[in-house]
Amino acid sequence: MSLGTKKGIKRRSFLRGAGTFISLPVLEYFMPVAIAAPLPKRVVYCYMPNGGKWKPSATGSGFPLEMPLQDLAAVKDYVTVISGLQLGPAKSTINGDHSRALTAFLSGRTPQFPGPNVTTTIDITLAQTLSAGSRVANLCLAGEEHAAAESGYTADYQSCLSWLGGASPNPRDVDPAVVFDRIFGADTAADQKGQRAVRQAAGKSILDAVLTEANSLNRVIGASDRYRLKEYLQAVRDLESRMSIVPTETCPTGKRPATGVAYETRVKLFYDLIYHALACGVTNVATFLLASESTNQSYDFIGIPGSHHDISHDSSDAGYAKIAKIVAWHVGQFSAFCQRLKATPELGGNMLDNSVLMMGGGLGDGAHHKHDEIPVFIVGKSGGAIRGGQHLNFEGQAFCNLHVAVANALGVTMTQFGDSTGGLSLG
């Protein structure tokens, strides 16, 4: 245990004394065996734009699964609904609530105006540990390619869930066919000619050559340009080392999806691909932005035509009912994804036993742009660190406390993230 962590514990002990209920240290100090477990831990963050409400009417293990969460029934034992959290960094007196809601969700920070500029998101931080031995560090997927800029903020704040830090959003894939290639290897002309082995061997030589090229360039260019080269060298070196990793599981490649499919098909395909990537051990971390914030996506395929964003600003009962139906559809898709993990056995249990799959959004009430009562639930037990089958209410606590709790449940020691004030007890 590092000195830094001990300091963190002391601070939290003080907080507890001050009346705040935090029990995170339990994980760090008393469950070292769980941390050292041999099975991979996986985490997936899914984000739903334009807000939603799903606080169950009762807390504890007897909580009811009401609209729009009813489709979680098949995995209820693994579900933890967390209510009462607020996303403080998304709050501001200036316009741009959608941009801040999305960007603060995984960064825990208020994005700079007009941007792009925000800190590294939690998925990237966790991938450094969880995907250290994986062929792909993380998958970053988005259901839509375009987003409109809001109130002077960069459009990147409405279209990117995952950030590498600074001005750099994590490049996102928007085409299931491209994601398929990323997971299973590009379907190339070389493959068709049976030359995959030649190509892979050449790939290694090419990476060696460009590393030499970049290193020598480093000596002749100006200091101000070197950070780009550093970034380049880092990516190429990382690719080189990950290329040699062969997934331990045998992966059924299936069929490469068609490009340009309709939204509802795209969402299903993305979940399907994330499942395969996790099951095959290609990666242990994924983020999935279901649609850009302020999206105009029409849900006419479930009988709700019109712009999702426009509908979210209909503060009549009818408007909220429509939003609940859209949310319920997404919960249904997410639940189907969870059920596939549950149906996949893994050393005496199933994949859900070792995963944390988060679903949520940065707006508790889209019509009023509220960042209180953040809608969020997680599915999975992370090796037993999370009990599951509960509705826990942490009224008024920072949403980032959940990130800290999840990170520690996944075995990544973390004392602070974003505006967190501690962790949350998920046991």
Binding site: T154, A186, V198, G203, I221, G222, E231
Partner: protein, 546 residues
Amino acid sequence: MLQNFSFYPRTLLILPLVFAGVSGCNALPFLRFGHHRSHANAPQVDPINTVPIDTDGSCGKIATDRTALAIRPLSNFEYDLTIKELLSTTSSPSNSFPPDATGTGFDTGAAHTLTTGLAQSYLDASQTLAEAYVDRQGVVCSDQGFAATCTGDALASFAERAFRRPLLAEEATRLRGLPLQFASDGLGGKDAYSASIASVLLAPQFLYRSKLSSTAGIANSDQYALASKLSYALWASMPDDQLLNLARDGRLRDRDVLASEINRMIVSPKSEGFLRNFTSQWLGTNGLAQAPAASHLDADLVTSFSEETFAYVNDFLRQNLNMRNLLDARFTYVNAQLIKHYGLLVNSSESLSRVELSGTQRGGLLTQGAFLMQTSNPDGTSPVKRGKWVLDRILCAAPPPAPAGMQTVLAPTNGKAVPMRQRLAAHRATTACASCHKSMDPIGLAFENYDMAGKWRDNDDYGAIDASGTLPSGEAFADAAALAQVLKVDPGFPICLATKLAKYGLGREPNKQEQCLINKIAARAEDESYGLKNMLVDLSRALLAN
């Protein structure tokens, strides 16, 4: 002469106010009226004007561009065009890359970071492209085919083009030896050459521009950087031999040479690359297929809308037409599908071709399907969205979003026939809404004669459409055509377009001195004879060579 325009100080107020996220529109001074200068007073515009923009030096010296964005990877669009040029291919490899970020508004300013995943995408593309290129090439050495002992020179000259500059001595030595090195890794002659080509395509000197392509150890290295800066701004692709030769001779910064090169580049058909990329982002045609109303329309029609708008704007550049006429020119580009859709009585042509619109209910950008459809809801028009779009994209004066908690869905009509105009009037009864809607609504209502798909209609469900309105400034208009006459003389329009063009070319927000130059250039559009080409030439002369 240019200093006489009294609207400068007021114009400069627009952007900071909007960007600071003010919650109302009362402070926005948009919709001012300039005076349309008559032809008689118009100065002759020299096609290759070399007179400095800032004749009196009042803008000051432009601060050196030291931003991090000075070096950045090629955008996806630039990557594809560069590959097309370099490898003489038609493929678009970036279809399998993650989409570019938008940064400050255009993909040219996005600082996307090279991640492991992106490096994988580039590696896959490099290998696929190199394999096809080598296959097409047949042989490199006449007597030995692809023997690694003889392909080194071909690789070095390929790399020189790919890097957009001469090779450093050590680069040349290393690259010449690459095929042999790969052969010793166990690759056959052809595979070794193909892998060498792929290495060049994955090298930082190829993937990044522009500082990395100018290094110490090369004579006139800053001139090569300028050649790339110009070509990526105006062609979205790599510099050609003429630019590179001028850089080699150290002549590219000569005022006359620079002006003439900029002119040549803009006149060249290659500038379509830039214009297509710019227009699709400026007018939102890149996201047309994702617009709410698009799901109810034929996908080909949606593509045709976008092609129409590009071809129309392209004509302004090719014919050097004044940009203010973008709002009311009586011509457009249509194919058979659009002719039928718009109900035009012209000879049908399968491919996109220019038609005159005199005597029709159309004329100008705002009567084209791309605008009318992208601002509609799946179940009908949205005057509010249309008004907002015009303020945002044409005048750079986007109104802020509705205050939180406001009921922004129009009150239900309970089966009664209530005209759109009457339903929208409720906005103006609430102070919080009125400040913005008194601008947005009349502009949007002017286009009610065009339905959600851009078709003309005299009546909606409630009877004859009244498209007339009055702007906050008191200016009244009878219909969309009359509104276009008001908008086209708003000085905010040329400043808005010139600023957007500058942002695209610079890949960042202009600084204070640059904005001053942009405003001076925008003011020249008061003269009818000052065309879009003149504007682009002047912006490039003033901003790109610094």
